[in-house]
Structure formats: C-alpha cells, structure tokens
C-alpha cells in the first residue's frame, strides 16, 4: 500500500476531486462576487438605458447600395440632366406587353385541353363520368403535396417580395400600390387649368376591374366642377388600363363594387 501511495502522480494529488485544502478559495470567492457584481451592473445598465424598441410588425427595410457619383461643384451653375426623359419611356413599355401575355396564354391552353374532353362525354354513360371524376379527384388529392410544391417552385418570385411570403392583406396593399402607380403615370392634366382653381379641385371616380385586370367601367362619382379636370381624371384611368389581374381575395370585390380613386392635382 505504501508503495502504491508513493506511486500516485503528483497531478492526481492536486485534483479537486481529492479533498485537500485549497489556497485559491478566496480568489474563487472574490471572482464569484466580482462576476455577480458585473452581471448586476450590466443588467441594471440595460434596464435603465433601454435601447430602441424592436417593432415586430416592422416591414422589412430595403436598402440598396448606390454608387456615388462625383458630387457637383457647389460653385458651378446647374445643368439640365437629360435622364428624366431617358428614364420615363422604358417604364410603360415593359409593363404593357406583360399584361396581355398574362391574360392571353392562360385561356388558350385550357381551351386546348378542354377541347378533346367534350368529344368523349357523349360516348360515356353518366356512371363512367362519375368514375372518371372520382379517379381524377383521387389523383389530385394524392399528388397535391408534390404538385403544389412544384407550382411554388415554378412561380417566379417578386423582386421586392418577402422571403417568408406575404399575407393576403399585404398582397392587396401591393396590388393597390401598383394600381395607384399605374394611374399616376398617366395622370396628365391640362396646363390651362387656372392655378387658383387647382387648389380646390377634387374628383372621385369608381372603377370596376375585371378578373384579368381590364377596366370594366369607369364612372365619375363626384365631379370636381371643372370639365377639363374631370376629363383628365377619366382619361388617366382609361390610359392606365389594363391593370394586372387582381389577387384572388380582391377579385370579386373589384368586379362588383370596384375601387374609388380620389384625384387631386
């Protein structure tokens, strides 16, 4: 035994598992007290000096890096920038072709796929049809999971979209924003309207929008009292048509009740 004790490594003898007196104890106690005090101080500081609150409903803030040009010399006279003219024309051009595309192709393939089906029914009995429908229903219900996933993959995302997807109301807001921007681009008013009168002009228009985004009806709900201004407002909506197809949850409302546009110069 004595030999075995004598053979124990000095490191094992110093192990904390072995009960022996530690000369570092007061340092440990000091350290604990110090940590507690530090933690207390930090939590007290954060309690009294609250940082900016995090708004969980905050919409994502989009930031983009812009290359800064050479700042103009403040002593030089200004120059007319031709950019304004160059920027304007491309905007309406790509949009207009998009909408007919979105409208036109959808009914066409359907018409083709439906085409052959009407030929079959006369040959089949109602029972067969029911069977066919049931099998079709089963097929779709089985493959819904995979199909929707495919559809989602195929759908192109919006550049400014939320990666987690938008809620229905946000989509509606976005649609209204697009609609407003499209009307605003075509909101040309005659310069002949007297300046004093411009301050008081206000016209309201009700617009009914169809499923494909076409304007079904434009009606002056309240006149501004100035025929030129009323005409410009109606022309702005007509020139802006067609709009993008409305989102599902707005489709009925826009078709039946429409949307009111309140114009001021």
């Amino acid at each position: 035994m004595a030999t075995a004790e004598a053979q124990i490594h000095p490191a094992v003898q110093r192990s904390l598992l072995v009960g022996y007196r530690l000369p570092l104890r007061r340092f440990l106690i000091g350290s604990v007290i110090g940590h507690v005090a530090l933690f207390g101080a930090i939590s007290a500081a954060t309690y009294f000096q609250l940082g900016p609150r995090i708004d969980l409903n905050q919409q994502p803030i989009k930031a983009s890096l812009v290359r800064l040009g050479k700042p103009p010399d403040p002593k030089l006279l200004p120059r007319i920038q031709p950019q304004q003219e160059a920027q304007k024309p491309p905007e309406p051009e790509p949009r207009k072709p998009e909408q007919p595309k979105a409208v036109a192709p959808t009914p066409e393939p359907k018409a083709v796929s439906i085409g052959p089906t009407p030929k079959k029914p006369p040959e089949q009995s109602p029972a067969d049809r029911r069977k066919q429908l049931l099998t079709a229903l089963n097929r779709t219900s089985r493959s819904t999971g995979s199909k929707t996933a495919q559809q989602i993959e195929e759908m192109e995302g919006q550049l400014d979209g939320d990666p987690n997807g938008d809620s229905a109301t946000q989509e509606g807001e976005r649609y209204y924003g697009l609609l407003k921007a499209q009307v605003q681009r075509n909101y040309d008013v005659s310069q002949t309207i007297p300046e004093q009168e411009r301050l008081h002009l206000k016209a309201r228009v009700i617009v009914l929008i169809g499923r494909t985004g076409e304007v079904l009806k434009v009606q002056l709900a309240s006149s501004s009292g100035n025929t030129l201004f009323d005409g410009s407002v109606l022309a702005a909506v007509k020139k802006a048509s067609p709009f993008a197809p409305p989102p599902d949850h707005l489709r009925d409302a826009l078709q039946r009740r429409g949307i009111a546009l309140e114009f001021r110069p």
Binding site: P74, K75, L76, L77, P78, R79, I80, Y176, L179, K180, V183, Q184, Y187, D188, V189, S190, Q191, T192, I193, P194, E195, Q196, E197, R204, I206, T227, L228, G231, S232, A235, A236, A253, R257, G258, I259, A260, L261, E262, F263, R264, P265
Partner: protein
C-alpha cells in the same frame, strides 16, 4: 295591416344601411401629383366668309397660330394630321368630334372671318373635344389693316377664357436692331412684328438698352449720340430728349412698375453706382456706394420696393437685391462667376439672368428670390442672353445666337417651348417686354 308596413319600413331602412355599408367598404385610393402638360390643341384654318376677309385670312391665321403656340399652355397640333372635313361647320352640332379626338386634340379652335364695311370681324369658338361642347365664343372687330391686332385680341381672349389670367399678346416689345448705320431701337408688337424705329440721332449712332415706358407711351434708352452714353426718352410722335442729366456716363434705365420712378447707373472713372430718380429725371439719389466696384443693370421688383442689380463687389459679377433706399443689400447668386442682366418677374418670385458657365457659354437661368435656388433655362443652344419677362410673368423673350446671328426667341418661364419670333432676318438684341 300594420305589420307589412312596419316590415317595409324596416326593410327600406335595412337596404339603406346595406347600401351605406357597401359604399363605405369600397376602398379609396388617393391620387395626387398630376403632370401638368400643355393642352393638345387643334386650330382649324379660319373660314373666310367673303373675298375681303379671304385676303386677310392668312395673316390672321399665322398671327393667331403663333400666339397660341408660344403661350406655353397649348401644344398646337400640326394641321397635316387633321382628319376632319375642311368645310366642317363651326357649331358643336356640325363638328365630328371623334375625328378631332383621333388626332389627339383635347381642345379645338374654329374661327370665322367676315368683313363689315371697313371692319374685319372674327368669331372664335373654343370647343372641348372630350365633351363635344363649346366652352366659349369670342367676337371682335377691328379696322382691316389691324388684322394682326385682331388675332392678338382673340389669342388673349382664349388665354383668359381658360386660365382666367391676362394674356400677353397685346403687349409690346422694344429691342435693338443692328443696321448699316449703327444700332437702332425699335418698338413692335409682342411678336416682333409691326416694328417701328425710334429716333436714331444720326448715322453711326449706337442706341442700346431700351426700356418701354410703363404707360406704353414710348421708350427710354441709352444713346451714344454725343460720344458718351446718355439716357434719352422718346414718346411716340415726339423727338427724343435727354432724361437723365449728369456729367457722368448714364446707362441701363429701368422704370418702376408704377412708372413714377427710374433707376439707372452712373459711371465715373473709378466706379459705377446705381441711382434712382423721379420718372422725369428729377430728384436723383445715389443708392449704392461701393468705391472701385461696378453696380449696374437695375431691375425693379413688381411691388416697387426692391431693386435687383449686378455688382462685382464680391470679386465677380453677381446678382444682388436691395431696398429702394439702398439699404438691405443682399447677394442672391453664389453659383457661376459671371452673372448679369437680371430681370425681375412680374409675378415676383423669380429673377431671370444671363450667366456664363464653366464651358464659357452664355445661358439663361432663374433664381428664386426667397430660396436662392438657381434653375437653368437654356443649354447647349449657342449663346442665350438678356431675358425679359412678359407682363404676366409666364413667358420670357431673349436673344440667342443659336442660328448664327443674334435673334429673338420666346419661351415659357421654365425654359420649355423655345420658339424664334417671326421677325424678318436681321441681328436683334436686348429685348424689353412691356405693356
């Protein structure tokens, strides 16, 4: 009996409520920030009712067409694009408005010319194409020889009929024309037509910097007829006479808007200072007092309480403003190093001026009197100088060398719609636009 009635009442109220709720549920989008654009206007060729009127029709037409084109509120459409029948009537019921709408017109002007003895009568109809309605009708007669005046009167009528502001087309222009003899002061209609030369004072004499008298009775100008520059005034039908009596060199006269006072500069060997006096030249008073510096080109504010001028007291010629007693001198321009010929807009908010930019081109700018913001009006079109606001402050006439020689152009006060005045060829400069 009572129950159905009550039911009807309740149901009526119910329907009303449903309708109100439905109305309230319609989302409302507020749209503002309209793009104000000139109205596309079709001006049909005038229809002459008799041979006498037919002779005058072309001149009437050209005058009216230029006035409306230069107004800045219309985009006058090219007649070549018109689809309507040439013999189409001048009443709303006889006009095929769809044809006018198809060429992009929002407004339509139709005129009839007829002679009544020695008078020429014009009937002008203004239609809104969208509604197919006649918005207003103007009728006026003038002696046959005043056919241009007749057109100007009707153009002013159209301008006022739409904007409810006075049009500038019956106003007058003074300018300098270079001739074989020297430089002569002319007074003409606003468009430079019907020019009338003022007293030249002999051959090889320079008469420059004209200023129309606010009451329209004549013009004052700087003349070198005695060798040194002097300010003379000349009323129509009277000979020219000295207005400012001084031993110093007097240049650049400007009348206060009420016509009661004048401002000008007097140059001595070492400096040039701005003075004011009564309209007849009496009671002169020195306003600026900056020895060794040049203060020149005064222009009155529309309220007559301030004067804009050019001074090099900051090292380079810049636009300054001061009160009419010489107090409150304030530098207005801090961009560019050669700013001159200020003209205060009759609307009060802007001062137009000529500046030489870093490319050494002379161009026109406006500076906002309150904010000091400078806006460029002309660019890359030769040298453009000496702006003069129209009496309603909406247009500017200026001289431009863009076609080789210096000629007079008109544009909107924002620099758009720059058109040459329909004057015969020649070298023209320093326009002044007055009543």
């Amino acid at each position: 009996m009572i129950k159905p009635r009550l039911f009807l009442r309740v149901s009526g109220l119910g329907w009303f409520l449903v309708a109100a709720v439905a109305e309230a549920q319609v989302p409302v989008l507020e749209i503002s920030g309209a793009n104000f654009r000139p109205m596309p206007l079709a001006v049909a060729a005038p229809q002459a009712q008799d041979p006498k009127a037919k002779v005058k029709a072309a001149e009437f037409d050209a005058t009216l067409l230029f006035d409306l084109s230069a107004s800045g509120i219309f985009q006058v459409l090219d007649r070549k694009s018109f689809l309507a029948d040439r013999n189409e009537g001048v009443t709303a019921s006889s006009i095929n408005f769809a044809r006018w709408a198809n060429v992009g017109a929002d407004g339509l002007v139709k005129t009839e010319l007829s002679s009544e003895g020695d008078l020429l009568r014009a009937d002008l109809h203004f239609f809104t194409v969208g509604t197919g309605k006649e918005q207003f009708k103007l009728t006026h007669s003038t002696p046959e020889r005043d056919v241009r005046k007749l057109a100007h009167i009707l153009a002013d009528g159209v301008y006022r009929g739409l904007t409810r502001e006075p049009g500038p087309f019956q106003s007058h222009l003074a300018y300098v024309r270079k001739t074989a003899q020297g430089k002569e002061v002319y007074v003409s209609d606003w468009d430079g037509k019907n020019g009338q030369v003022m007293n030249s004072g002999g051959p090889n004499v320079l008469n420059v910097l004209p200023a129309l008298l606010p009451d329209g009775s004549g013009v004052a100008f700087t003349t070198y007829r005695t060798g040194k520059p002097m300010i003379f005034v000349q009323r129509f039908g009277s000979p020219a006479a000295p207005l400012v009596k001084s031993d110093h060199m007097a240049t650049g006269i400007a009348f206060s808007p009420d016509g009661k006072r004048i401002a000008y500069s007097l140059a001595s060997a070492e400096s040039t200072q701005i003075w004011v006096a009564q309209a007849d030249g009496s009671g002169p008073k020195q306003l600026t007092d900056t020895p060794y510096f040049i203060n020149t080109s005064p222009s009155w504010a529309p309220d007559g309480k301030r004067i804009a001028f050019v001074s090099n007291q900051g090292g380079s010629p810049q636009i300054y403003v001061m009160n009419t007693d010489g107090s409150g001198v304030r530098r207005l321009t801090f961009q560019g190093n050669y700013n001159q010929t200020p003209d205060w807009s009759p609307r009060g908010d802007l001062i137009a001026f000529t500046a030489r930019d870093e490319r050494r081109a002379f161009d026109l700018f406006t500076v906002n009197v309150d904010t000091g913001k400078i806006t460029r009006l002309t660019q890359d079109q030769g040298d453009n100088e000496e702006p003069a606001f129209s009496p309603n402050g909406r247009l500017i006439i200026f001289s431009s060398g863009r076609t080789g020689t210096s000629r007079l152009f008109v544009m909107s006060s924002d620099g758009s719609n720059q058109l040459p005045l329909p004057m015969e060829s020649g070298t023209y400069s320093t326009p002044d636009w007055g009543r």
